[in-house]
Amino acid sequence: MSEGTQLREARLDEIRREAELTGRVDLTGVRPAGSPMPMASPQTGYYEQPLLKEPQWTPLIPLYFFVGGATGALGVIGSLADLLGAEEALALKARWMALAGAGISASLLIVDLGRPSRFLNMLRVFKPQSPMSVGSWVLSGFGASAALSSMADFVEAQMGDSGFASALRILGRTGSVIFGMPLHNYTGVLIGSTVIPVWNNRIRSLPREFGMSGLQSAACLLEVSGHSESSALNAIGLISAGFESWEGIDLLRNSDRALLPAKRGFSGLLVHLAGALSGPVPIALRIASLFAKDKKRLRRLAAISGIVGSLLLRYGWVHAGTLSARDWRLPLQIDAGKS
């Protein structure tokens, strides 16, 4: 009989003796090693309960991140191409898509609110310290500019050039560029400036990553809508995909524990898949399209890949945020040992 077994036998005898003598057992129970008894301690936190609250956004919000990102970049493409006098048809379509995107964006945001009827409260105050407030104003400014811009296009098409039309045009195009710039990437600032560890850890890179992803999806959306032969769009697609690849490598090289939800599990899979679909895959397809016979088909494939990648990127990061909030160790600065 081993020593451990003897101890346990002695313990059983002890319990029996106490029961015989007193009619009951008052001895304190021994906690078996590794038993699931919940504990509060500097090592286990408060019963391993998460300190932070999970994001309470509906799945419409990552969809908005995608639509808003593309919309802002579409506004910039449509206005800049026009100001530079390049590819008229493409620029016109980009501006109409930007206007539609602004409408869809606003709708998605309003429907997600707990009290949609109070959406105008967003414009009660302007708070530079709140990215949510800045974003609301930026989207409003962009929507107004896109509307002016498209109104100018409409007036010009109906009545030809006039002072009124060109005033609308200048105002709309300038506004679309000025507001389109923050609109296409502020959502990265928005989720970065939170207590969610996986987001806050990437506070500097998320605005870049979301921004370039927005630019790519804008170019890709134009390509699938019938402009798959524009060399300029191919160039934009290549630049943004190159940047997304670099961001992806940067994420992989960073071994911070807070980033695990963006690397492992389902959310990690989404982020990785998004990185591949908006990085190396479209680069390969776009370069191949320069030499292949069936250029259009390859360009379309690259565009679809970019759009899907951009969409998955937002869902992946938002889902990673939810998982990150559940990690009770990080905000309590408890060393994970093995994560």
Partner: protein, 278 residues
């Protein structure tokens, strides 16, 4: 209102605070009940968690005071007297009413405001339920009520304070574990209490008031025994907007890069694709 209602004598404009002293808490949950009754908060439901006597687990939209039951390995002196007994300590948690509050910074509607007593108050008639404050609180206090649509948190009983009354939880506390008063008085009381505890040999007692972090101090000071992590309190809570300037800088640089790329693309490939590929 009669004199025995006990007017605090605190006028609007004076900054107030809680001191929650876990060494005096008996875990009766009177504060939770008083808070719910006074503020008319809905029930949390009947859950059994298995975490000591705590079936509420955390602060949330329907829990503004939350008594923690800290059960740990046997340790003589901590919460128990016997080396064989599990240690058992209690501490009533509440919104920290931060000096620099993440939720207040994040709120886009101006629903969250700083009150005349220095607390952070969520105006339910303004909140539109965008839920951004939920991910801005380093203490996980604010939560959106999915049924109602709005976010809720401790009001610091601003309504009672305006009427010269102490918050409901402090009033209901039978052991004065929850004290309420002017911030400077509370800080003084805290250090006095710490002296007493040290004299009695309670070496592990410590004050939780993170003034050294970007939160810059709280209006709900705690006296705890042992590490704050045991009580689910972060040792270094930070306001999430701490690095926001860097984020906007990144955004500005990337936006400039986008404009440059788009401009370059349309300038260089202007002529090679004039028909735009219709």
């Amino acid at each position: 209102m009669t004199a025995n209602m006990g007017h605090t004598g605190i006028q609007p404009g004076e900054v107030t605070a809680f001191l929650t002293d876990s060494t005096l808490c008996i875990g009766c949950k009177a504060c939770e009940v008083a808070c719910k009754e006074w503020n008319g908060i809905e029930a949390d439901g009947m859950d059994f968690t298995g975490f000591s006597y705590d079936n509420t687990t955390a602060l949330g939209h329907s829990t503004w005071r939350h008594v923690k039951f800290v059960e740990g390995t046997p340790e003589p002196g901590i919460g128990g007297n016997d080396a064989e007994l599990m240690s058992w300590a209690f501490s009533s948690d509440v919104c920290k009413h931060c000096e620099v509050a993440g939720c207040l910074e994040a709120c886009p509607t101006g629903s969250l405001v700083r009150t005349e007593f220095g607390g952070v108050y969520l105006q339910p008639d303004i909140c539109n339920g965008c839920a951004y404050c939920v991910v801005a609180c380093p203490f996980g206090v604010v939560q959106k009520n999915e049924d109602d649509g709005r976010a809720f948190k401790c009001t610091f009983c601003t309504d009672r304070q305006k009427a010269g009354l102490e918050p409901a939880c402090a009033k209901a506390c039978p052991t004065e574990s929850i004290k309420f008063g002017r911030l400077e008085d509370i800080r003084e009381e805290t250090s006095k209490r710490m002296e007493v505890l040290r004299e009695r040999g309670m070496a592990d007692a410590q004050v939780y008031d993170p003034t050294e972090t970007s939160v810059k101090g709280i209006h709900s000071i705690f006296i705890l025994r042992g590490e704050p992590a045991t009580y689910n309190l972060p040792a270094k809570p930070e306001v999430p907007t701490l690095y926001m300037k860097d984020a906007w800088r990144s955004a500005a640089i990337e936006a400039a890069a986008m404009v440059a790329s788009v401009a370059a693309a349309f300038l260089f490939w202007k002529n090679s694709a004039q028909d735009g590929g219709r």
